[in-house]
Amino acid sequence: MTLQIAKLSSGYRQRSVLQQITLPPIAPGSLVALIGPNGVGKSTLVRSLAGLQPASGQITLDGDALAALSPRERQRRVAYLPQTLPQATSLIVYEMLLGAAYLSGETIQAQITAAIARVADSLGITELMLRRLSELSGGQRQMVGLAQVLVRQAPLLLLDEPTSALDLRWQLNVLEVVRSYVRERQAIALVASHDLNLALRFADQVIMLAPDRDCRMGEPLQVVTPDSLQTCYGVRGRVETCSLGYPVVLVDGVAEQ
């Protein structure tokens, strides 16, 4: 289940956002962080891979070109978590996951029930499952949205800022869950994020999109460097190792041009 991206271009009516992005093959079982400053095209890249944004170029998953798949087959293999939180409607969380499981083509009731229970348990949201979305907080809705994606059991996860509304504990929890999902199934998760420390801590590979349309991918510590922080984010920063051995990004200030 290798993901390959070659010469991917995408954008909006007047403005091209991504130009000719080519990346090294992404191996199965890897969690890849997608980082870069605001407006650089993280969401556009993720949406293009999900098939929700017109794009040119080749995207192949396990040798199959995604563009050639039927929409149904494509969404069975690619599960995308939008940046926007699920709406606060009177829908029950359980129904939300049930619908996702049905629409992904799962038909065996017992399997659906088991998958929902497993996902709810792993994310620690079992007690939210029979409540209305409108009763949940923003962070809880984000967790529930992620549960809706995980329950589809797709081999490629595209998560657009899955931790933006979460507190510290849940941020760690969510990324732990995604990492073990990826490891167990030899799946691939592409996680767009603003949190460089989480990226350094959990990602096997990091893709950094820079405003000058430069795009590099590699080991976290090779990609996130004082140099790239300067060129990409325009800040003076350091990457140091904390007393427990985790790499940490420290930002000292805005870089002078």
């Binding site: 929700l52 939008p82 940046q83 709406q87 009177s90 829908l91 629409l103 029930t113 229970a117 949205g145």
Partner: protein, 352 residues
Amino acid sequence: MTSPQSDTLAQGYRRLWWRRAALLLLLAAALLFAFVFDLSVGPMGLGWWEVTQLALGWVEGDAAQRVIVLELRLPYALMAVLVGASLGLAGAEMQTALNNPLASPFTLGIGAAATLGASLVIVFAPNLAGLSQLVMLPLAAFVFAAASCALLLLVGRTLGTEVHTLVLFGIAMLFGLNALVGLVQFMADAEAVQQIVFWTLGSLARASLDRAALLAVILAVCLLFALRQAWALTMLRTGEDQARSLGVPVGRLRALVLLRVSLLTGVATAFVGEVGFIGLVGPHIARLLLGEDHRFFLPGSALAGALLLSLASIASRGILPGVVLPVGLVTALVGVPLFVGLILARGRRAGL
């Protein structure tokens, strides 16, 4: 592989499912009760059991009873149920597809388009092409309602399916069409104006069994197709991007919903005129009772709409003895307090 926890979760959901199924049945039972009561209201002094027997053909009854129950009251009561169900279903689908709790056939100008069609026929073409008004009026109302839906769709296509744009356009269309109806009224003579006003009040007096049968077929077909898309519609409630991510073709779904809405609204209003409140409130009642799983919400909205209009039909003949008030008026008079009560009850519960 199921842990005790997964069992309790599944059981919890199953309990919820049964509760909703029971509520749906309760709504259906209430509707049946209202329908039979609607048949028995009137100066004949027939009881509900006699009426049921007459309607089902179990007893012959005398000629007067048969005429009154089978030929006058039955079409009237049936039409109330069918029109209410059609408008309830149309409103529910619209609110979901346009992601707006204020969407309904009458708040977005589809009903106003039907009124414009009807008033044009009343004023300018009472006997066009040898067709009587009995045919021309519903036909024009339907054609105009369908045209307004087509216009909404076209705008959706050209401007992209940005939902708020569609809703705003629908509201603009409502004002424009109302102005045109006003213009037609301004140019009409007093008798025509009276007819138009009567149309806008909504009345079941034009009901007949043929028309009820036609509407029943359309309602059944639309409900069937809507239920086939129940999960897609349900997922749309979690968000447009979420639904797209699940492979729901949102633009196409929206177009199909508007097509069904134009059919339901066009035919229903063609036969009874404007009954504006049902399409807005029926879905809200269903949502409060049943939640938004569309397997329950869609039939629930149809039942709630039918129940509302059936109750209104009873009230329209029961409030002033000997007078049949326009049902559109009564709907609002009966429905508004009921609806406000529901909102207040929910507000209090949510506050706790």
